[in-house]
Symmetry: C2
Subunit: 121 residues, 2 copies
DNA sequence: CATGTATTCAACCAATCGGTTGACAACAAC
DNA sequence: GTTGTTGTCAACCGATTGGTTGAATACATG
């Protein structure tokens, strides 16, 4: 899992219009023109947004005459979810560990004495 | 779940330095100075990065004399994970549905005839 | 109180971003 | 082959971003 890939993914989803495009592509594939329709901006602008999503690997485009129907690549989201989950869990575990230590300090004083080496203030 | 909150979260994590800070804060809380140490940039720059993470709700800072120890807010990551998961699942389901339809088209021709209205090329 | 330490604020700068418009490429259809 | 449709490329513009340096703030300590 490339770091710059991760950067491109997060950056791609940091824009409301692009998140909205992702939302709509989750429902069904769509051409650039179809995607551009509801927004108050030029097709070129939307085309750029799609390019950003494509460079991030979140969207692919196939050819259909002049059309370029866009498709959401669901698997790639897994990578991002995994990245987030790693640190969420790590931080969560640490938090729970701290809770346990605090509980120990309140209740099981005798169990704690072995661990309380350098932390006395 | 605020849309601009989501924007700030994704934007915050779209920077490698900030992702690294998150990684390190998942292990343990740290002051601004401690966090700044390994990077080849000024403390002010790192202070700004932390502000971005704080504005996104990913990090909180408590007061300890001059120090401002930073703490990772694990729960907030859940919101982002949920956002991602929603569309990942939706797109995945659609993909599987498509697979089923294709299987139907190969095998159960008679069931398909009702659906093949306008798609003939 | 004066000094040193930890952090933030403010102004600045180059690079990137999100939008614009105009030109161009690829294809369908008449 | 000309016309209309769909989409991308290129140049441009103002706003934002990620960094810098210098000054200011807040606190601990001699």
């Amino acid at each position: 899992m490339d770091d710059s890939q991760l950067t491109r993914m997060f950056a791609a989803l940091a824009d409301p219009t692009r998140r909205d495009i992702v939302t709509r592509l989750a429902v069904s594939d769509a051409t650039v023109g179809e995607l551009a329709d509801p927004y108050g901006m030029s097709i070129q602008a939307v085309s750029k947004h799609i390019k950003v999503l494509a460079d991030a690997g979140l969207v692919t485009q196939r050819k259909d005459a002049q059309r370029r129907p866009c498709h959401l690549e669901a698997e790639v989201f897994d990578l991002m979810t995994k990245w987030i989950e790693r640190y969420r869990q790590q931080a969560q575990e640490r938090y729970e560990r701290l809770d346990a230590v605090l509980a120990e300090m309140r209740g099981d004083k005798h169990l704690n004495q072995q661990r309380q080496q350098g932390a006395a203030s």
